[in-house]
Assembly symmetry: C3
Homo-oligomer: 670 residues x 3
């Protein structure tokens, strides 16, 4: 990238009146230099089977090219037209709930040949009219692709073939690996394979979900291969990944293996939605950024984020700007709003864009004007920020699916509320608040050796090879911090039957046979002093086997067990958190871990709500962001070599106080 991209999704198709010229004028005034178009517009592009009409696309391309605004072409495939469903109702995904019904987006069987046939044709036609255009800088494949619970007969037959391959046609091996003897679920002939939608076997069920995730990989690769036939060298191919959704972007997306799916792309893209107003913390921006940057180990695109968003997210003064720069601080090269204008009909009417329904200048748009100007002025200092993180954060779709089958605070057949992403965010957010920047790692990451500290939350299901790799990492001098529910089952969700945590018991110097739910249990011992000392959700009754006990349980019946331990192993150390503490207590525990790993620095002395993020820019200089996620002014003492504050163009020297306004930021280049 040679500049920061500041963009909006633009739907000429949805306009209640002709707005194009006026919109371009207002975009220019706001420094918008990018629009994403065509995504989800299939029924306009191909109003009837085989009848194509790209007039909306062409007229927008003409207007944008004229105005010097870049364009991303989104393939229109994530919402299907009525004519396709009318003629071929079985393109709708059959799920646990039965056959589908037309209406929403993302309701099709992404493997269905009819859908693929029409999809390929419309993509090719769209490419033909757009790919060669100068203003088109890249392509977005589909949008927020997932597998949509597709589980029809065709999909299940593919799954059985997948299993035959995985187990070399050996049914005994499968029955053993999945424990199918339980409740008479054993399959003694492939012909007997039951409808997997009803299975209660977590191993089989999780394997099916893993298989379903591969459908997303295949699907994006299929689109990428088509698009590549038309794309120029300078045009990127990206996708708009999204996260587990809890009313906002929360954590690991259970229906897509982002790391695998990203192989089809040249640049990783993502949408990040998050609370604002009093709840704006920057944590989701940081989480989503660290995660997406790590997919291709490079800068990434924020293809969608909120402008006004839904009514509860209308930004306070300063917040839209703070958010935009927060994305850059994590390594984004693009901030693109969903969307330019607020939609006047249908469904997402209250998911508002930069403009409200009245198309007038408003407070949000006025904030964008400031941002656009600053992006243009400072872009060369901020684009292509490179990170040099010393902490790796390991996440796993397999562990997630496994814990979703067996919730931490649940019981047999009874779902619990604590899911994998709750542990991920419990740990990630405290690192974030300690100003520790992370790279994300996945089970297939080749080596952890470049990191001084490896953080592993709830790696519940893992192949032995991964556990061995972690163990070796410690032996070789690494520092490990891992939590309860790690190393419990293999990749088939079979609980290891020697000891828990499996293999990692070596580096951790512990084992346990029992675990329970804490009721009025606290940590005891001399190590930690946090007043927020009440455990919740889950605790393991850990037996130290060589490890140093950092904390035990303050409870008459559990006091003989360890809660937090540390073990010197080989050249490294491994810290184990056997229970779910409060957030402040975890920060204290992590503080100690960081010190042990030699990672405690001046940034960690600065407390949230001020967040510090760093990287190296194209000029070879270090850029340091000071982001204030609070309405009050915060003073921070600057540490480091002399530099320049980029907004104020003022020199900054070591020891100087930086005053950061409420919902404001400062950027020092040095």
């Amino acid at each position: 990238m040679d500049k920061l991209l500041y963009g909006v999704a633009y739907y000429d198709e949805y306009m209640p009146c002709d707005r194009l010229a006026k919109d371009v004028e207002m975009m220019k005034a706001a420094g918008i230099n990018l629009v994403r178009i065509a995504e989800s517009t299939w029924s306009t592009c191909e109003p009837q089977e085989g009848v194509f009409d790209f007039s909306h696309v062409t007229r927008v391309l003409d207007a944008m090219e004229g105005a010097g605004i870049s364009v991303i072409i989104g393939t229109p495939t994530y919402a299907i037209p009525t004519w396709m469903v009318k003629s071929h109702p079985d393109v709708l995904a059959t799920t646990k709930k039965g056959p589908g019904i037309y209406g929403a987006r993302q309701i099709m069987d992404i493997t269905h040949p009819v859908y693929r046939y029409y999809g390929e044709r419309v993509i090719r036609k769209l490419m033909e009219v757009s790919a060669h255009r100068k203003c088109v800088i890249g392509f977005q494949l589909d949008n927020e692709t997932k597998y949509y619970e597709t589980a029809g007969k065709n999909v299940q037959e593919q799954f059985v073939k997948y299993l035959r391959t995985k187990f070399n046609d050996d049914l005994d091996a499968m029955n053993q690996a999945f424990g199918l003897d339980y409740w008479s679920n054993r399959i003694n002939a492939w012909e007997d394979f039951p409808d997997v939608r009803g299975t209660i076997n977590g191993s089989l069920g999780a394997e099916f979900q893993k298989f379903q995730r591969t459908l997303v990989d295949d699907y994006l690769q299929w689109q990428a291969d088509i698009v590549k036939e038309y794309a120029r060298e300078d045009q990127f191919i990206t996708h708009n990944f999204d996260f587990d959704w809890r009313g906002y972007s929360y954590g690991v997306q259970p229906m897509v293996d982002h790391k695998h799916a990203a192989r089809a792309l040249t640049v990783a893209g993502v949408d990040i939605y998050h609370p604002t107003q009093d709840e704006l913390t920057g944590a989701e921006i940081s989480y989503g950024g660290d995660s997406t940057r790590s997919l291709k180990e490079d800068n990434y695109f924020v293809l969608e984020t909120e402008a006004q968003g839904f009514p509860g997210w209308v930004p306070y003064d300063g917040q839209l700007r703070l958010q935009a720069f927060s994305h850059l601080a994590s390594g984004a090269n693009m901030v693109e709003y969903w969307h330019w204008h607020s939609i006047h009909n249908s469904f997402e009417t209250y998911w508002k864009g930069l403009l409200s329904h009245d198309f007038k200048e408003n407070d949000t748009y006025r904030s964008a004007k400031v941002i656009g100007k600053e992006f243009a002025e400072l872009g060369s200092h901020l684009v292509n920020l490179k990170k040099h993180n010393k902490v790796g954060f390991l996440v796993s779709n397999e562990a997630q699916t496994a814990l979703d089958w067996f919730p931490i605070d649940g019981t047999a057949g009874g779902g619990g509320a604590c899911k994998y992403n709750d542990v991920v965010r419990y740990v990630y957010d405290q690192l974030y608040k300690l100003n520790v920047e992370c790279d994300f790692l996945w089970p297939e990451t080749e080596s952890f050796d470049q990191y001084d500290l490896l953080v592993v939350p709830a790696l519940y299901a893992a192949p032995e090879s991964l556990l061995q790799k972690i163990n070796d990492y410690v032996a070789a001098g690494g520092h490990l911090f891992t939590t309860f529910k790690t190393g419990f089952t293999d990749e088939n969700l079979k609980v290891f039957h020697d000891s828990q945590p499996h293999i990692l018991d070596r580096c951790l110097g512990i084992s346990y046979s029992h675990f329970t739910f804490p009721k009025q249990v606290k940590l005891s011992g001399e190590t930690y002093h946090c007043e927020d000392n009440e455990l919740k959700n889950f605790m393991e009754l850990v037996n130290p086997e060589g490890a140093q006990v950092l904390a035990s349980y303050d409870h008459y019946n559990w006091k003989r067990y360890a809660a937090v331990t540390r073990n010197a192993y080989g050249k490294g150390t491994a810290t184990y958190l056997g229970c779910w503490t409060g957030d402040a207590m975890l920060r204290e525990i992590l503080t100690d871990v960081l010190k042990d790993a030699g990672l405690w620095g001046m940034e960690q002395e600065v407390e949230f709500p001020v967040i510090i993020k760093k990287g190296t820019n194209d000029l070879g200089k270090e850029v340091v962001y000071y982001l204030n996620y609070s309405p009050e002014v915060r003073n921070v003492i600057y540490h480091g070599t002399d530099g320049e504050e980029l907004f104020g163009k003022a020199a900054v020297t070591d020891g100087q106080v930086l005053e950061i306004g409420g919902w404001d930021l400062k950027i020092v280049e040095r």
Copy 2:
């Protein structure tokens, strides 16, 4: 009407033993002069297809005629017999949930020819044996008719034809009006019309619901036309409308357009159920009465209300009588209980009647005896009460459906808890507590000019003509009070794209582009002093454009916006409430509005729990009710010309203190 009707629903069919003679005796002792029969008794009247047995009907007619008790014949069509479903299972309504299953009432496709065929035949047969009878004073068509979510293939095909007519076969017009381009929902051939049950497009979905409401209009007209062939001049045709149900009668019925459907009737009828005991406020009686009286702009029937009702509603001493007279005070000419006896089997066993299951005299029945006696004695003074209200209250099924698609406190895809009726009752109930009597108005009401004050809660969706009519009303000297979420979309749920509120921005002198959910936000300014000053659910960030700001927001980020405004426009004024306040605060705001409109009088000085209601009786005299909805004695100073308190036959003079007992009332005629 020449007398007050005091009645019960009576089901000889349901009796566990022969009770008719004893029941008639007990009715006479209680002053019961009316029974409603035959409603929902199809399987007894026509035990097999084409086999009719009206012996229960005839024997009750004989007994009632002998005792001088009037009878309403209910057509039996709202519950269908087993034989019909066995032979024609598709008479059951197909809904979003799929095909129906036999069991409950109100489960049929009210448009289905099979159902219509059998329905017409049983109605005619019933008319033949009953319509000519002297005791029969009128007919009730069906019962609590709604459209029961009917959405089968036949209904959807009718809907498409309806749309072709509405849009003159112009698909582009429909796609544009409904915004179907969004998420590729565009329909480019009528043959492609998708199953509407799955639509996520609020415009299309709301239009389907509007169409479904017309099915109810057609259905009632169909029954009325049949019944009219048999009815005498002196016999009325009514229907038992019901309201949005929240465990009791709450607000506008979303599945019926009462105003339209009432065209088939000669007298409007309704059921009103409400909490009692500590929760008896009279608000539902007043709301239901004002609404139903306004349908035909005449007196109305309370065809069903609770005697004991369900266990939590057993009336305290005095309450049954207070309730009965409260209905009269709103203009009812009939109070009829559902039902005479408590049912011994099936489903509504705990929806108890005047008599409990033991058929014995009980406290509730003893209360009815008092009421029956007073109705007989005072009836000529109380019947045919005419209202002369100065406040009009505008409600709209279209606005309701629209807000149910886009809940006020919701977001895209996420349902909120605040619905249209919550706003309606939020406003209505405070007017009620200020002793302001209203007439109900609907979008098709020709003129608002007879009212000094027009109250318009959350008129979210409205055609421009209606908004223009309201604007003109103010210009001509009217006083308008309207709230947030008014004038936001057109009748197709397309958000107006010029400014909000559309057209009304002229009379209101405001506009807004932003809205959000209040968190720790209060009203600021000098106008209001209520201590209950915390906003909830929703707030608009209003820009005054000529209007006087009556209150702003007490919040660091929103303080520059207006919350409550008033604008002088033409000869009138228009007050806008941009946020959801507490109830007491709204009363203060309305107090100010009433004063501005010149409607503040002595009645408004009297505070709830004493409610005052007035009207003119057949003798040309004014009748004033003083109703005490509390267990404590309340003293009210009487204002007005000398009159007579009807219960005590005592003279009443201006300035005199009226002592009203707990759960008691006084009536002054003057």
Copy 3:
């Protein structure tokens, strides 16, 4: 029985590795003398249709026989193999939700001929290889059998035949009994019988559920008849009944009439699961024990109970032992854990056994070693404990089903939270805490005469004959304690139309026509002094008609009604509780009832958490358990003839203080 049985469920099939020899060794070390095998292993025993492989069964029999461990053979029928469903999908029960889907256990139509055909064959094959084995001491038929909501066409046709028999083909009689005229549900030809799954008629619906319960009786008898062909004289036939499940064993099982179903058995068996840790009270052990002991009026088997159970149940030190002896104290001859090892895959991974997944010695296993040793040493004193209870506790599946259709705190169509079992446990648990041991009685119990006190909670639906029997019991000198919602409907859920409570109004000397939900209502009067005096859920407005009023209502509108009454009738007394009090208040009321019945003794002076249970052993001596359900030491004064404390082998004399440790017990034989 000649010894106590201490056992585990053992599944060689589920093992991740060959553990048999090691497991037997660890069992022997823990005093385990029994295993249950084969239950739910159909897919391993019959991997393909007609192909049998009992190698797991045989090798376990060999190992156990060699080790002197007894074996129960469970028929494998409660989970069906994939091949059966693939070929015959209609063996899956069709329920209200439609056709079934393969996956879980307990999903079949237990009446289906295909299932029965294959089921009989696999049982016979299993019997052939196992029944003759010396170590096999008995058989368990199926497991936790219920009717699984089976309601397919075939089942409904059987139901109609059942009704034709019940009503002698007289449709009028059925329509009258069930009140089908209501909402036009009348059935005028058997051919018209509607799909009963949709019925809203509680009488019809409850009759269907009663019919479904008979399917369970038939099913177990069918299996018993097969097994009997192979069983030796010395081998028992049992079944593992379970209870209404609320996360643990709670109360009467609505889907099985235990009393009827037990006719197929020679020994009653049950599973009892319950909270532990701070929530261990012993109440479920006592409830389940009293109930199951009463089925065959003899000692019973606890075929399943938790070892570790789910994570929240990991026992505190001492609890596993306290639980084991608590079962014996109620008359169990067996304590068997579900299960030996924790399962490594599938579904119940977190329902842990004696061993954790790591198969290592752990705290729970170590507790079992203590128990096994004590069972062996003291068994001859504890086995075959016989009870001589003076209190009978009447429960009824018919009353339960009826109240589940018409919840106590519900209304028409609106479900309430208070169900039959809430009343059952409300009463049972306070008797338990007063150290009153009960026998369970059922409607068909021939005579109540052997009991000094009959306790009848919420006998909502009952035939007149049963009510007459209770009335006669009082007349003959019995003492009755009964509650609200008793004697309200007949066996067809038709409310009695003379008076409530029907027939019992004679012995109780009361009647009532009204009932409501208490809001800030307390008991008034001089009889009770409990400070926990707030009513909840339900209250009847009782008119005393001869009865003494023990308490009235403290509420301005209800104060004239009685709340608790007692009546002398014939030679006995009858106490009525017309409202739902707090637990402590109920204990005070029951204290008074016990004193009135002459049942107040020294045991009642001892307060929970110390529970005393008694019985006579094979040596003709009385055995007294003192069980301490708290972590603190409790001192109890011993009363009675001199005896010996069995654990400490110490003499015990009258007046001596027994010190009972936290979560510990003492047993005195005298």
